[in-house]
Symmetry: C2
Subunit: 332 residues, 2 copies
DNA sequence: CCTCTCGTTGCATACGTATGCTCACATCAT
DNA sequence: ATGATGTGAGCATACGTATGCAACGAGAGG
């Protein structure tokens, strides 16, 4: 049924291996022959079989992206640049979403991937261990795991959060709350640590009553903020674990009838596109996540093709972006 | 390096084909042997090679999803349910994003997919033609192309739009504008046709000056709405091609200082999650896009495994959901 | 004129699994 | 006791490409 390299070989009057070499532009094939082979291939509409190629070469040129919650806006914005970056290197992105930790690694391995980009690892995940044991190269994107070292692209939250904290304090905020991400993610942890450190640096500490933890999603941000706003001494400024949680915070404030920023100020983290929309205008900590995705792609390709001794840890700087949702503290 | 079925066979004291059959639970293998093989496979940590399997069986159990603009929120919400649906049938989703129309088909074919789900087809796309010529099964999701028939899941916009139009007219709106999607997409066309028909049914017609077309994204919705609001006789109600464009419309109104809904009413299409957020409260036309994604997955699997004679065209009903962004018309 | 080298092509085979066919053996009816 | 039936496993091979190695011819150098 399908056209194989043998069919092309027959038409071009050469052997099958010559077809294989000619189409991959092997220098050992004469220009003359290459042209003949290419013409024959085009005439027949020949398309090389990935399966045959994978079996023979042992490589698939496919890279897996492991994400648990695809619904999360953040990852939508990551996939496109990552896809494009890998494409320029001749690799293809394959999406994997699984929730259970144990079977994931097996499926990644079974799928004959050349490498895996881990985007939603939890700190205690065993997936990196399994991949390492199998010799399947992988790269951490955004989050890292504790058990195994590897190439990684991470965000350095300190600078951006320090600026945000300073600005918040300057605006008179003293009762400061936090709606943070899960403590079993490296991002959740590092942002919390950086926030506490930035406050401590100015002699302020987070009141434990005003801190909440939850998944990095809108519903969690909504619920946690609703709780905080209902408190006797509600915070006048709330730091959120990411923008998506901050959307939830804005919703909760609206539902509670607390105006933003006059009743409460909200600060996010990520600077996703909606943060700069006129109807949202979210103050947030920004970093170049598109560049970060591309860098993760580059690290992945380098890991596969060059197997460097050292692991690269690329950090991305953060900056504070002030928008409408931050204003002077008002005592209610 | 890697463990093959031959290694398992040696350990279990059987032949390689028996391993292949035992692990796929072939009834021709005795329970006793199966157990021995499974134990040996587990002991060695054997994972079947996708490449070998694909080459031998001619099937990959991989299905491609072709999307041009991944950034579009709509598709983020589609991918997860589609992924899950295919997974339950033992298939895996592979994301393909390409902009050029010509090379796409080749890459889809080359990748040894069992089938393709086309999510962002334009009406005049040749991809369906190429796929048909190759005998690669495919399904239309949401949009369809004109040239080739195939299984399809589509939205029937008429009912929802008729209700929305009736409600808008009841609220006194007469100057009605439209910020619509591209005319080379079946969704763009069918929504425009349904809107015009619904208005015509009530003896109203769209003023050509108040109609704009553009890509299904926030920026386009923003730009078009800004134009409409700047007109002498600006519309009091604007229908948008989808929710994402409606976000842009809301932004444009905010920027222009026109309050929503008191200055202008906005109606979207899709009912994505943000539409029901307290800070947005977008009136919109809803349908069950999660179910639609799952149905597309089911059609795809059925097409691959049963090759039915007839093509299925599954329609999804729409309903109008009234929220804050629609109110009585006010003359400015 | 012989040998050596270089450039080009073909030959043989490996990659790992699935499957049609054969075959051995046991069970059972005749 | 013999043939028929059925069960379970092995043998041989196919799938399509890539690659190490051999081979071939031409040209160059001695």
């Amino acid at each position: 049924m399908a056209i194989t390299s043998r069919d092309v070989a027959r038409l071009a009057g050469v052997s099958q291996p010559t077809v294989s070499r000619a189409l991959r532009d092997d220098p050992r094939v004469s220009e003359d022959t290459k042209k003949r082979v290419r013409d024959a291939a085009a005439l027949l509409g020949y398309v090389p079989s990935e399966a045959g190629r994978a079996l023979s070469s042992g490589r698939t040129r496919r890279i897996g992206l492991l994400v648990t919650d695809l619904d999360n806006q953040f990852y939508s914005h990551i996939i496109a640049p990552l896809h494009r970056e890998l494409e320029t290197h001749g690799y293809q992105l394959v999406l994997h979403t699984e929730t259970t930790d144990e079977s994931v690694a097996e499926r990644l391995i079974a799928n004959g991937l050349d490498g895996v980009i881990l985007a939603t690892t939890t700190v205690e995940s065993v997936v990196p261990l399994r991949l390492r044991d199998r010799g399947l190269p992988f790269v951490y994107f955004n989050r890292t795991a504790a058990l195994v070292d590897a190439d990684a692209t991470v965000v350095a939250p300190s600078v951006g959060l320090q600026d945000a904290v300073d600005r918040g304090l300057a605006l008179g905020h003293r009762r400061i709350g936090a709606v943070l991400g899960p403590q079993n993610t490296s991002t959740g942890r590092s942002r919390e640590r950086a926030l506490r450190a930035a406050l401590a640096d100015r002699g302020v500490s987070l009141d434990a009553d005003l801190v909440r933890h939850g998944p990095f999603d809108t519903d969690a941000g909504d619920a946690a903020t609703a709780e905080l706003l209902a408190l006797e001494g509600a915070p006048t400024l709330i730091f959120c674990g990411n923008d998506v949680m901050a959307y939830g915070a804005l919703n909760a404030a609206r539902r509670a009838g607390v105006p933003v920023p006059d009743g409460v100020s909200i600060i996010g983290f990520d600077d996703l596109p909606p943060a700069s929309w006129p109807i949202i205008e979210l103050s947030t900590i920004a970093y170049d996540y598109v560049q970060m995705a591309r860098e993760a792609g580059r690290l992945m390709v380098r890991r596969i093709e060059e197997r460097p001794q050292e692991y690269a840890h690329v950090e991305f700087a953060t900056t504070f972006i002030e928008r409408r949702t931050l204003a002077a503290a008002v005592t209610r």
